[in-house]
Symmetry: C2
Subunit: 197 residues, 2 copies
């Protein structure tokens, strides 16, 4: 049983170890408070109006965070695959209701880290605080670059660049999700694809 639990959390522990050192005792302290959760395809982790009480770390599968506008269109703000953290950080940081939906794109297993547990664990284990600082700093760099791409590339260029960078991921998700993530309509994506074969 202990072996099974270890395996569940192993991807996260490994991920942490890529950034900071961790004693076995710290490792155990962390694993003791974590929870895993399995989501079926299309199942929601959070819905608009709820508070994102936890960060989610994807062990296997794919999660997306999207917003539904007044016209009913879904706009995907973020994807997370294996070894990525995902959350509406506005909601998580302030512990206020989110306007997003967080949903499994495919059958997905995640680790959940509650807000208050994150705070107490970080105070307890300096390495973990450091880990999250580094992860956040890295995510911030990625966010800056994403904004840069949005502004400097046309929508068609954005698609071509994205599918060149993540050819397998593009296959993995429905086109309408990708289109909304890249900031345009599914129809337009379809036309881009039709053009150059």
């Amino acid at each position: 049983m202990a072996f099974l639990i270890y395996n569940m959390y192993a991807p996260l522990i490994q991920h942490i170890r890529r950034f900071v050192p961790l004693t076995e005792q710290e490792e155990e302290t962390i694993m003791k408070v974590l929870k895993t959760k399995k989501l079926e395809k299309k199942e929601h982790l959070w819905q608009p109006g709820q508070i994102c009480t936890a960060l989610a770390f994807v062990i296997k599968g794919c999660i997306r965070m999207y917003i539904t506008d007044t016209a009913g269109n879904q706009q995907t703000q973020q994807f997370a695959i294996e070894n990525w953290w995902i959350a509406d950080y506005m909601s998580f940081n302030m512990q206020k209701p989110t306007s997003y939906s967080v949903q499994a794109v495919e059958e997905t297993t995640i680790i959940l880290l509650d807000h208050h547990l994150m705070e107490s664990l970080c105070s307890q284990i300096p390495s973990l605080e450091q880990y999250f600082r580094k992860v956040m700093q890295k995510a911030l760099g990625a966010a800056q670059q994403r904004i840069q791409y949005i502004y400097s590339l046309s929508k068609e260029e954005r698609y071509r660049q994205f599918s060149a960078l993540f050819p397998d991921f593009v296959q993995r998700i429905p086109q309408y999700m990708l289109a909304s993530y890249l900031g345009f309509t599914p129809e337009f994506l379809s036309k881009i694809r039709a053009k150059k074969v």
Copy 2:
């Protein structure tokens, strides 16, 4: 002299204290390694090709980070005013050359925190590590929201919303910078402004 130095760093110390507690000794340790720098209007802190070896914290004035595309157009990626940190986090994290220019919009005084000093200070002072984790987390929330606005609002709406939220800031900077920050051309901004008086 000690008094003068205290005053220079006071805004940052206060900012840190808004997030975490800090002993007087920790405070001194931090201030001992910080440097301030004064930039004239249009003076550059970093130029493309350089490594962003330090984070910058604005004490007074305004800094922008922009990229120059192949056609020579400047695209403003970020502004920072009083009490904001600014950096190309990609360059800073990896300590690799940046593609951005970081420039003073007006006469500006900043505090510089070197990458290696940040790392050693954070290891030394857990509260500081926590501060930066929280600041990064907050910045990430802001970045998510910015992407959301870019996707869900038209360019005209984006301008109207921004100038409603920051009416004084809009006055403070040239229009072409604002236009490029919001992701459109100066001509278009001019036309928006002409429409509804």
